[in-house]
Symmetry: C2
Subunit: 221 residues, 2 copies
DNA sequence: ACCTGAACACCGTTCAAGT
DNA sequence: ACCTGAACACCGTTCAAGT
């Protein structure tokens, strides 16, 4: 019987694309992106490194599957209520997804991954914007801005990183010469306290949404 | 005589933190972040891998020096004119810096780097915001949003990546089932055309600045 | 102080072989 | 079709030794 390529049937040793990707995601979550190696993953699965190459062409393909898997976990919000509220919920969920699987974000470095799993978020975002009255190209621009802000915040202000980073930051800020960095030194306490909070994220997000509405929607009235 | 990228003559013992970091940055620019290895860098410098460890404790310390070097290249704008204009110029320059040295961005993954070189930008940003009338904690929040947006855009919408990515994106969007992704498929042309332009960046930036002004400054009047 | 050379414990991947 | 085992060309870093 011919098997579909994407079928999740497990073989004698219990290996399948599904299972490999899931264990790889767990491994990356626990040990960080550097901990996710083909050899380490094979060890985790009690299998030879080369066994993985039966299911994936190489590490890149495996990694794409891992990111897609992580993206599928997102619980997309319902499409009810004001458009700004819908986008808030969507981007909050996107950020929480990245928070859960930080390494999945850094995996998407050079090549843009556009598998169906990862495109569910963008699809919903575009739908909300189009329905709100944005033209196609305005909607694309608006989504781009919202998306950049959200992933940028998750990348450089993640709470996970912040917990480890806070004392480091405090020391680094204290070490800056205050004749050269007066603004930073004077606001050091505020800066450290403010690192990576969910509130900070939501506040910036609302500012961006306000601005988008003004520039794209209100101008025609 | 083999043509070297670096112009200055190196004597037999001409190794220094400065020179090592500069060659490392060139290497990362040319070959990507994966091309920057201690062994490869040593080969480039006609030296044993271990010679580098005389000047740097390890790869992490070297990499911090590389990022700091890249950050020092930024030509910060003058502090004249309206505050929104000043921030526009600053963040545009920040984005261009990342565009010039894409790998420097991805280096800052786990640990937050706060060397004097990289803090010049944040310092100026904070100064502008404080002078504009933002309170300390509002200024921190505002900078955080602007910074996240800028680096997020540079990370996920870089023109460098886009040139390589455009046809890939076109194919990937075309491959999405349009009953499941109606919004994306209908705006595919706009989405591909709009990828990573400088205009897109500036437009989103202005929206964010507008929103920040409304939420933080105008509310008190 | 500055650099070399050998060594250790890792990588991703190819290739030939086993079942 | 699925997996093993050995091999190749890489890593970062330690340690002892040379100058």
């Amino acid at each position: 019987m011919p098997a579909k390529a994407s079928s999740e049937r497990s073989t004698a040793s219990g290996l399948s694309r599904e299972r490999i990707a899931r264990v790889a995601l767990e491994l990356a979550d626990q040990e960080g992106l550097d901990g996710l190696s083909m050899r380490r993953l094979a060890r985790e699965l009690d299998v030879t490194p080369m066994a993985l190459y039966v299911h994936f062409r190489g590490k890149d393909e495996l990694i794409d599957a891992v990111v897609d898997l992580a993206a599928r976990e997102l619980k997309l919000p319902s499409e009810r209520g004001p458009w700004k509220r819908q986008l808030e919920l969507l981007l909050r969920e996107l950020r929480r997804g990245v928070e859960r699987h930080p390494s999945a974000l850094w995996i998407r470095r050079e090549r843009p991954l556009m598998s169906p799993g990862v495109m569910r978020g963008p699809e919903l975002g575009m739908r909300i914007l189009l329905r709100a009255g944005f033209s196609k190209s305005d909607a694309v621009a608006a989504w781009r801005a919202l998306f950049s802000y959200t992933l940028g915040f998750a990348s450089f202000s993640s709470t996970a990183r912040v917990e480890n980073a806070r004392h480091h930051a405090r020391a680094a800020l204290a070490a800056l010469p205050d004749d050269e960095f007066p603004a930073l030194v004077s606001a050091a306490t505020e800066a450290v306290d403010a690192m990576g909070g969910e509130d900070q994220f939501e506040f910036g997000l609302r500012c961006l949404l306000d601005g988008l509405q003004r520039r794209y929607l209100d101008r025609e009235k």
